[in-house]
Symmetry: C2
Subunit: 398 residues, 2 copies
């Protein structure tokens, strides 16, 4: 039996490939500090669980294909709060940001279509795009320049007849880079000029640490036809397991296509929608508290990194990730060695090696992504382990 | 901006296209009896809601990509009960049978690949296959022969170099046709001989009314490499809103591809998985009671249909659907007329017109699908309305 050549071109998750070695380390009694996955440790607001417990219909029925009105309206109200007006026709509730991305790619890509994405990027983009017949045209950035990517000339060089969209994560995963208003405007102008979709994966919107107001490409009214927003409750409300996301677009033709995919998969889980609508009622200081906590962690992480000679890292301004170049030959080999050969008083550390975040072969070899989703004391210990690990790794008998 | 040509080749749901007219009828004070959608009215077992209420972790985190062990094991135990042995590697928990279908198509289809499916078929198959670059090669059946499709010569005529799979829903949606053991064997032999995947969408497995034991292509051990089972808790436990499904395959190469798609979309909703695992503990007489209820409805539906002169319908043996040819010129026009021009004492009825279930143009024009998901008294009234409607429609001034 044959396998799809498109499936063959997809990869297993680079974040999960060291999992079996971590399991082995734990079996040997080693404690592993996890900086490798973006699963926040912040408590999910109790509004979620209260709503779930109060659900009292006898039949757990299909929800409307595009989402339950309570949740759609909660999303619309949220955007009103950042100055963007949407109607229910513009908002599609999806099974996580993941399904939102898959539906968008199914709707806009043909065999051979291209999407321009700054690299390093969230590796699952590759699967959503490949399975829709498209490919990623990477816009390469570097640790030395803080992974900045909004450069007109560099982007325009990548545009050709097959280009359908420019996509970015803002604030960035894996880099933590945050677009300035001017950079966002520049991307919008390029999309408009070249008649491309501009896809903003904005699931980390709340996680900005410079005191700026919340940004969205939805605020740029003149590109309403081009703009596609990917959003989710996963990170915003520490509710990753709800699998509730959103695609938002004012483009009527695109709405028609997305509706087809929404109808084909019938609906999104009913209880999770009811409970996610309640999340949007979480009290106003929830975000402030969460932002304060992550900012502290970002600072810890960054300051500890700066103490390690040879590390290259620009201070990330958002999300809860940080990308850095380490003074090691190969981050993959280093990670493996940390799990199999290293421990300090019985402890070791895991991060995500950088290569899996790049489309260009050979890039990111000495880079790593750190997800700072641990409590302060654990984070400090994890960063100390990274420092000790680098020292020991570079001194080891080869 | 361009739209995907594959998306353009997908359709909106034929089940939902009359929805606005039904809304209008209700606004005019007409009561609409719904035989058009497969949303069961049976109560979801309380085990589901109990499990949800008892969930007590503070963070609603991502679940493992392939599913939580409790649910995977519940699925394995269920299959053990029908004589099929699976390991955790064989079972992938998905967001409904819908995601299961999409992942399978992404894994096996290339541009131009073909899947042989008996028509009439579940219309959403078209979207999952088209968006993966494939097309449906329909195996046409007829109301006169009870929509039977397991014929070696007819199937082999449709096989060519692009054929990747034979897929069927058993028990059938929309027809209610159930494969005999011999017919299932015949399909397995064809798949084996021609090196094709055999995809059994078996979500209606429990809904058989001839006293037979539960069937699955998983029971045919010699085609373990070819067999792909699509399953779901939606119909089995009247839990459509849980969006919990499964792909099951022993084919290692396919498992590798499906794992990629599971990882890319991160996980299935955590609470729904926990609660669906509990569903499999629903007490043993649950299925007997549900089966008895649906059998009664099937009989009501069929007997009432047989009282209408000119109807062609073979008694369906399973699922909760029935397909029939009516003595009308056009089921679409008839449905529209029922909603806009007809009522009997303020009541009218909705079904799903047949054309949307066929890939071959012009087929199914005078056929309808009935979902018998109403309580006995409502079902009787709905079927009487259908009879009265046909009489009045054929006597109307044109």
């Amino acid at each position: 039996m044959k396998i799809s050549s498109k499936a063959n071109a997809c990869n297993l998750s680079p974040m999960r490939k060291f999992h079996p070695y971590a399991v082995d380390a734990v079996k040997r009694g080693v404690k592993v500090y996890h900086l490798n996955i973006g699963q926040p440790d912040i408590a999910t607001p109790k509004e979620y669980f209260d709503a779930v417990r109060n659900f009292s219909l006898p039949v757990l029925a299909y929800a409307p294909s595009n989402g339950i009105p309570e949740l759609t309206n909660a999303v619309i109200d949220y955007y009103k709060g950042i100055g963007v007006n949407y109607t229910p026709n513009d908002v599609f509730i999806t099974t996580g940001g993941s399904e939102a991305l898959q539906m968008v790619m199914h709707s806009i890509l043909d065999e051979g279509s291209e999407v321009i994405i700054p690299e390093p990027f969230y590796p699952n983009y590759n699967t959503f795009i490949r399975s829709s017949g498209g490919i990623i045209r990477p816009l390469t950035t570097t640790p030395e320049s803080g992974y900045k990517y909004a450069f007109k000339d560099k982007i325009e060089k990548l545009i050709n007849a097959n280009t359908r969209a420019i996509m970015f994560t803002n604030p960035g995963n894996p880099t933590g880079a945050v677009l300035t208003r001017e950079e966002m405007r520049l991307l919008a102008d390029i999309a408009k000029e070249h008649d491309l979709y501009l896809i903003g994966d904005e699931v980390y919107r709340e996680f900005v640490y410079g005191g700026e107001s919340l940004a969205s490409i939805g605020q740029l009214e003149d590109i309403a036809e081009n703009a596609i927003i990917i959003d989710s409750v996963s990170k915003r409300f520490s509710a990753c397991g709800a699998r509730i996301g959103t695609v938002i677009t004012k483009n009527k033709e695109l709405q028609k296509q997305i509706t087809k995919f929404c109808q084909a998969r019938l609906s999104v889980a009913t209880l999770d929608q009811v409970a996610s609508a309640a999340l949007y009622n979480a009290k106003g200081d929830y975000f402030d508290a969460v932002r304060k906590e992550y900012k502290l962690r970002r600072d810890t992480c960054y300051n500890k990194l700066m103490e390690i000679p040879g590390v290259i890292c620009a201070k990330p301004e958002g999300a809860f990730y940080l990308m850095a170049a380490l003074p090691v030959d190969d981050a993959d080999k280093f990670q493996m060695w940390l799990l199999t050969d290293f421990n300090d008083h019985g402890d070791t550390v895991m991060f995500a090696p950088g290569e899996g975040f790049y489309a260009t072969a050979g890039k990111g070899k000495n880079e790593i992504r750190i997800a700072y989703v641990l409590k302060q004391a654990d984070l400090e210990r994890a960063m100390d382990l990274l420092k000790l690990g680098i020292e020991a790794y570079n001194k080891r008998a080869k």
